[in-house]
Amino acid sequence: MNAPLPRPIVFRRPWYSVALERAIEALIMVCGISAVILVGGIFFFVFREAFPILASPNFGLGEFLFSIEWYPTSVRDVRYGVLAMIVGTLAVTTLAMAIAVPFGIGGAIYLSEFCTPKLRETLKVVIELLAAIPSVVWGFIGLTVVNDLLITLFDAAVGLNVLNAALLLALMSLPIIVSIGEDALKAVPDSYREAGVALGATRWQMVYRVLLPAARNGLLAAVLLGVGRAVGETMAVLMATGHAVQIPTGLLEPVRTLTANIASEMGEVSQGSEHYRVLFTIGVLLFGITFLVNLAADLAVRGRRR
């Protein structure tokens, strides 16, 4: 009866196991903050290469932002004005969105509300594959197919122009708009739909009276992410815009974008030269623009979740 109680068995993990776990958790922590380090690093390294020109008295920020004259290698008068490229980027992006938004939102509505589940899965896979086509291939299509098409259809003086690039960008940003837009529509509670249907609304009435207003923020985020993709796209616009520095007066005029300008000129510029630093300054400008666009998209998404 009074036998001594058995000593409790205590599993003690060996010290090295605990140490290993600590090490792994430290590693995980470091990886976790890697994104912050990298974003900081990107800004730091791009800004570092740009800084000497920004600080130099020869460089006027006003001229940089508000002059259309881009003559980085001129023998007579070197000028670094990127206004035409800012306008070019805006023109191409705006037109691309004007094409992509109706199609993208329409596609999202169809996927989320109208088609059968089986068809939806198939279409989603196809749209995912569309998103996978590399941008250099889009550029190649612009150069070889769309170029001829625009000359034949519209008598365009040159087939590499705003419209050509906008068509490609629209196709490239459609998958993002469709998939994020569909998520946004799906996130609207079913009770909304049921309420609509109970009142005798058809599906279409329900979509456009109930779902679209309810999913407004999410759809806005989808469009903004599409904009981000279009602004940042490089190879396709390099090959399809015609790469001419000018303020376009029509859809069939060639333009140049900020991204394409860096890609085109960085390869041959000598390191540390003014031109090199100005190209990095354009990089800083682009970083800023896309940072704002993405932040706005993120805020829109959070607004939806709230």
Binding site: I68, E69, W70, Y71, P72, T73, S74, V75, R76, D77, A84, L143, N147, D148, I151, D155, A157, V158, G159, L160, L238, G242, H243, A244, V245, Q246, E253, P254, R256, S264, E265, G267, E268, V269, S270, Q271, H275
Partner: protein
């Protein structure tokens, strides 16, 4: 649960294999060979590559690695000592010579390896017959007045909008530099000129664009485009031909240079000698440039004239 665990093992295994494979690549590279690094002008990249490729069969122990980037980049790399041969479609500048003396303690030595003629191309359907350099300036240069084909006295039926579409190379390329210097008298291009990234792309786009005019190397001609004879001043128009390039009558032609630091020796010398030999020069013609006149100048290191032919 067991199935899931085995998936994990599979994934980890796959990762391990890929990492091991990479480690193997890192160490077990190709057998040691002599490597010649060759960098510079994009104009010359085709011919430089042709030489590199053919030389691999002539001298299997030597690997020639070619990169583009532009004449300035190649010369800068030569001055830094990161390449043995720089390709340049322009003569070196005095500042570059000094920089080489300062960092390498030797002079840059020039080797002419062939000639390039820049040709003004228009669409094959364009009725224009020839142009003067003055007209070319008025079409391309800032302040020039010619913007329509009818301004040149041409009724261009396949270009209904009549606009002249100007096609150029990108502003950092040697070809752009050379065209601006010789054809535009160092004036800047008009805004709105299309700047493309490759000599081939220029010709290809002209072949698909009836309204276009542009310039590119002689070797890039295709069936879809027409080469325009050019006249300088009051002289008769001269068609871009090998003969006209060599005798200097064609106004926009230039030598293709290779530079070394000091007189070349060893593998570098063998390579340059081979480039100047008949097999090397045949490749120059094959790529579409103009080979050196038959009694080739000294194999290497012959001081070349400063001026363009």
């Amino acid at each position: 649960m067991r199935a899931l665990l085995s998936h994990r093992r599979l994934a980890v295994g796959a990762l391990a294999v890929s990492v091991l494979g990479l480690a193997a690549c890192g160490e077990g590279g190709p057998a040691p060979r002599a490597v010649l690094l060759n960098r510079g002008s994009d104009t010359m990249i085709n011919v430089a590559q042709a030489w590199a490729e053919a030389y691999a069969t002539v001298a299997p122990g030597v690997s020639v690695e070619v990169a583009g980037g532009g004449s300035g980049v190649g010369i800068a790399a030569l001055i830094d000592g990161t390449v043995q041969i720089a390709n340049s479609s322009r003569p070196v500048k005095a500042a570059e010579r000094e920089a080489a003396r300062a960092s390498q303690g030797a002079d840059l030595v020039e080797h002419v390896t062939g000639y390039d003629a820049l040709v003004v191309y228009v669409h094959a359907s364009n009725p224009v017959r020839s142009m003067t350099l003055a007209q070319l300036r008025d079409v391309f240069a800032e302040g020039g007045r010619l913007t329509r084909w009818s301004d040149l006295g041409v009724q261009h039926g396949t270009c209904p909008r009549d606009t002249i579409i100007r096609i150029s190379r990108q502003s950092s390329s040697g070809t752009y530099d050379y065209f601006r210097e010789v054809a535009l008298d160092t004036r800047d291009f008009k805004l709105g000129t299309l700047e493309l990234n490759g000599s081939k792309e220029v010709v290809e786009l002209i072949a698909h664009t009836p309204c276009a005019i542009g310039y590119s190397g002689m070797g890039y001609a295709t069936d879809g485009v027409k080469m325009l004879p050019l006249s300088n001043g009051d002289g008769p128009p001269v068609a871009p031909t090998a003969q006209a390039t060599l005798d200097g009558s064609y106004p926009i032609a230039r030598p293709l240079y290779m530079y070394t630091v000091g007189q070349p020796a060893g593998e570098t010398k063998h390579y340059l000698d081979w480039i100047h030999s008949p097999p090397g020069q045949r490749l120059v013609a094959a790529v579409g440039y103009v080979p050196l006149p038959v009694p080739a100048p000294g194999p290497s290191g012959a001081p070349a004239p400063e001026a363009h032919p």
